[in-house]
């Protein structure tokens, strides 16, 4: 089961966990990304490309399901305005055993960072600035390209 949500509403991790656990698999691995509190950001705004975003996330999830034989792959990404401490993104991978679940979970978050059309804008004080892409994100995503994952 692939579940893709792109929405301004806060992410209900408990409800998402229950759904990911509902498929009868032996292992569920999850990752939650939060707006950092420590670097002076007052608000974070997420812009996206409606339609293309959901399609790109579906492709990422499909890649994980096929590669690790997952029973469930979930990607929930918040959009709009967020504050420090709030959840930006939640991913879950359900598999028969922990190694596949953990690897698939890392794949989901690594790939969505480079493959899906989201743009972050941070506001510090009253100055908004678009976040620059990080080379480390490209490196993290590329490690899954060679089939070694």
């Amino acid at each position: 089961m692939i579940r893709i949500i792109v929405d301004p509403a806060p992410i209900d991790v408990g409800a998402e966990m229950l759904m990911a656990e509902g498929g009868g698999s032996g292992a569920v691995a999850t990752f939650t990304g939060l707006v950092r509190r420590d670097d002076g950001v007052s608000t974070l705004e997420l812009e996206h490309y409606p339609g293309a975003t959901e399609a790109a996330l579906h492709d990422v999830a499909r890649g994980a399901v096929d590669r690790w034989q997952l029973s469930a792959a979930t990607i929930v990404h918040r959009v709009g305005i967020m504050h420090p401490g709030e959840r930006i993104v939640f991913v879950a991978a359900a598999a028969p055993h922990r190694a596949a679940a953990l690897e698939a979970c890392a794949y989901l978050i690594d790939r969505l960072k480079t493959d899906a059309p989201f743009w972050k804008r941070e506001t510090r004080g009253d100055r908004p600035a678009w976040v620059e892409p990080r080379v480390t994100d490209d490196v993290a995503a590329a490690r899954w390209d060679d089939g070694a994952g």
Partner: protein
């Protein structure tokens, strides 16, 4: 060739709008051609948005493509900065 253009993030801000319909001449065959045509015919905002091609990404009919990709027969082209989600 009628095309719907979509702009996101600082590309949208520099151009001053999120979308527009255009009708480029038939010599405009690739995304790069389209960017050149927009930058030279649509005013200072477009020129400013497209000044650094290394920081420009594109999608044709919602598929991510290099700037060299064809737009022949396309209905929608999106132009935007490198993505920063997650």
């Amino acid at each position: 060739m009628r095309l719907k253009l979509l702009y996101f993030a600082w590309v949208r801000e520099r151009i001053g709008r999120g979308e527009e319909d255009v009708d480029p001449p038939s010599t405009v065959a690739s995304v790069a051609d389209l960017v050149d045509w927009l930058a030279t015919t649509r005013g200072a905002g477009h020129a400013a948005a497209f000044v650094d091609r290394d920081r420009l990404r594109a999608a044709v009919d919602q598929r991510f493509v290099p700037l060299t990709a064809s737009i022949i027969g396309a209905r929608e082209v999106a132009l935007f900065p490198p993505v920063t989600g997650g």
